[in-house]
């Protein structure tokens, strides 16, 4: 990952625009989540809420944490691995709970 300090003058303003755009998107997403929670979207309320949360988290990771601009793939591999193992924990545990014939 090379330092951004050698970027030209015109390039130094572009990260700022991007940051503010992401910030606005995050706030809009929060408002949207709250609004969607008041609507009856059963049975999709949870899916919508978590979907918006995932979009917000992805924006933070990609742009605030600079994963989008990472020079090598390693950081992306670390992030994806962590998510993979989390989903493993959640998913395989649920195979037990979902397949029990008693509650």
């Amino acid at each position: 990952m090379s330092a951004h300090s050698s970027a030209s003058a015109s390039a130094t303003s572009s990260p700022l625009k991007g940051y503010f755009a992401v910030w606005i998107a995050l706030l809009v997403g929060t408002g949207l989540t709250v609004y969607a929670a008041t609507l009856d979207l059963a049975p999709y309320n949870a899916a919508v809420a978590l979907g918006i949360a995932t979009i917000k988290a992805t924006l933070v990771a990609l742009f605030f944490m600079h994963v989008w601009h990472a020079g090598e793939k390693l950081i992306k591999v670390v992030v994806i691995s962590a998510l993979f193992f989390l989903l493993l924990l959640l998913g395989l545990t649920m195979t037990d709970y979902a397949a029990r014939l008693w509650s």
Binding site: Y19, W23, I52, V60, F64, M65, V78, M94
Partner: protein
């Protein structure tokens, strides 16, 4: 793919005093620190993950009781806290950019703003906890959740024992998150002290970057906690 482990062999001028002896180049040191923080954040994902797993199991089992319990926590405070953390993430990226571009005043201002927002978050959290304490929703001997209707079924009451599980998870998850916030505030206080002394330059500001990564992670955890804890069946 650049191999950061290869020393290029050319030392340009004097060593940056922050370069540690076992690294060949400042870039190597910086890449090591960055990878180290990312790997640590992966461990934190699994740390919170255990709690998310417990939450998932019991939410499925006791959905109506969870909905009833969720309705009693203040959605306004939760949404406000979400916005507060989002703003603090913005001030963090501004701090990093300020360090990259040698803007000392902006750096210090952004660090201070981040900390103020973090304290605001904790303050609102404190108000919420106090509310729960007053309503006897804190799990333990004084827990009471009698005759609370299930959303959408006004003639059915929530099972207090299952509601207690919701609040147990609520307090452990948000409590652990708040603990991470407090640690984050400590880290940023230290960053502020270093920035005040002028220790960060465009060539070396690694602590700001990796401190920022930690803060963003804590924000991401809250981005998930908010809908999961506060927004169960709010439309009913």
């Amino acid at each position: 793919m650049p191999d950061s482990s290869t020393a290029t062999g050319l030392h340009t001028g004097a060593h940056n005093p922050a370069l540690l002896h076992h690294f060949a180049e400042p870039e190597q040191q910086r890449d090591a620190a960055s990878l180290g923080m990312w790997v640590f954040l992966a461990t934190e994902v699994m740390f919170f993950g255990g709690l998310f797993c417990a939450y998932l199991v019991y939410r499925r089992w006791y959905f109506p009781d969870f909905a009833a319990a969720s309705k009693t926590i203040n959605m306004g405070y939760g949404a406000t806290n979400t916005a507060v953390l989002i703003c603090s993430s913005l001030t963090v990226v501004l701090a990093v950019w300020a360090a990259q571009t040698a803007r000392r005043t902006l750096l210090i201002t952004s660090l201070i703003l981040t900390m103020i927002l973090g304290l605001a978050f904790l303050g609102i959290k404190g108000i919420e906890y106090r509310e729960k304490f007053v309503e006897h929703h804190v799990p333990g001997a004084s827990f009471s959740f009698e005759k609370v209707p299930i959303p959408g079924h006004p003639d059915e009451y929530a099972n207090p024992r299952h509601a207690q599980i919701f609040f147990s998870l609520y307090f452990v998850m948000t409590g652990l998150h708040a603990l991470h916030m407090i640690i984050g505030l400590g880290i940023f206080l230290w960053l502020l002290a270093m920035a005040w002394k002028g220790r960060f330059t465009p060539e070396w500001h690694t602590p700001v970057e990796i401190g920022g990564l930690y803060w963003h992670f804590v924000d991401i955890i809250w981005i998930y906690l908010f809908p999961l804890l506060y927004l169960i069946d709010r439309h009913l």
